[in-house]
Amino acid sequence: MQNTVEIRHVTHAYKTPAGPLPVLNDLSLAIPTGAFCAVVGPSGCGKSTLTRLIAGLMKPDRGEVFLHGEPVRGPRSTVGMAFQNPVLLEWRSILDNVILPLEIVAPRMARRDREARARELLALVGLEGFEAKRPSELSGGMRQRASLCRAIVHKPEVLILDEPFGALDAFTREDLWQTMHALRREEPFTTLLITHDLRESIFLADEVIVLSGRPATAQYRMDVPGGTGRTLDDLYTPEAADRLNLLRHQIQIAQGRHEAAA
């Protein structure tokens, strides 16, 4: 199987007034085409840096990032992004917000086709009938659904999710997890999810990667079977509890608190 995303020995440091701040240290990871990879780790360990490197918004100091075997030199239209803040444009309707990437990526696409594509996605995430609303008229969960639609409207090969469900309440979050599965069944994309929520990681991802504390490297990998067939009930099985425990243990090691917790 080909790897859509591949990160090879990436090391990166931020320049700060107090000297260089290393955030990533010899990090390598690969996401096979169509797979869903979740990255968890302590706060401030460089997870968001990782997303910006893959999106081509930043260049690493050392090492290389590959998309489809090609080194990433800058931003490219085959990437879709969604953040914790849905960043919808308040002056546009929900429909026009979802259309936005198409205006950049496919400027020649007919307005009718753009709308049809956006409507199809909005219906898929349960926002049918809200196309003409302004973002300010929608709840936080609905805004995040619209933001997800915008991230995949141009059929990106890689979807980068930087804690998109982080600011939602627990029930809304679980609804959106299921929406995510529904989207994955319909749309072929390779996903990298940054999250702090271990349950979220084992519900959504095929592979979970635990990053160590700063400067981060891949500390632990876990394969999760079941794909998009998983249900919320599967989170309450002994197997799921074992996985969560294992991940929690790894996070504690990453935080450097292992001894204290033991």
Binding site: L57, M81, P101
Partner: protein, 253 residues
Amino acid sequence: MSARKIAVPLVAIVLFLLFWEFLVWFNGWPRYRMAAPSDLPPAYWRFRWLFIEMGWQTLWRTVAGLILAVIFGTALGVVMGFSRTMRDALYPLLVGFNAVPKATVVPIIALMFVGQHDFNTVLIAFLISFFPIAVSVSIGLSTLEPEYRDILRSLGASKLTIFWKIALPKTLPEFFGALKVAVTLAFIGTNLMEIVSPHGRGLGALFDSGRINSDYPLMFAVLIALAFLGIVLYYIVVALERVFAGWADRSPA
């Protein structure tokens, strides 16, 4: 607009005029010391052609100054909003420039371009009103959350596209807020110049000639004409704001 929305301010205005009339009548002030509202209609009628001519002059000069301020202020704001170096370089200069009381600048400009009434009046209206526009545009652009930029930048959009599709519309509410301030300031600038400039034109000059003759009814008539023009200009900006930045209004429809 409901009848109530018109009636309430109208009643307030009528009450205000009645109180004013009463004050003048009660104190027995003569016309060379204070004018009453009832003195104003005759003053308007007597100088009706002057009011139309001078009112038009004041109006177009203010609007011309304001248009220049919008163009220059926005350009300056864009430069300062996108470049940290330019912001650091220009900010103290701008603040210093704004801190100088314009009443002191007016005589200088009036002397520099003596006789060029249109030019010096438009210039002062412009000078006095570009500052808030430049500052608000630069702040609006520099406080744009990075994620807003990233959603387009990650697709390979150019800087110009990002500016056009995101930064500019996002700054519009701040821009209109500043424009409301700028309208009033430009109006003050125009009038200051018209009053100070020798043989000036416009409502300011009309006011000055009333002052020289101790013609209180004329002076008050000019003040109220100025207030009227100021309100008209202000509400034109409000109407433009509704059209272009109405989305920022969250009050329940």
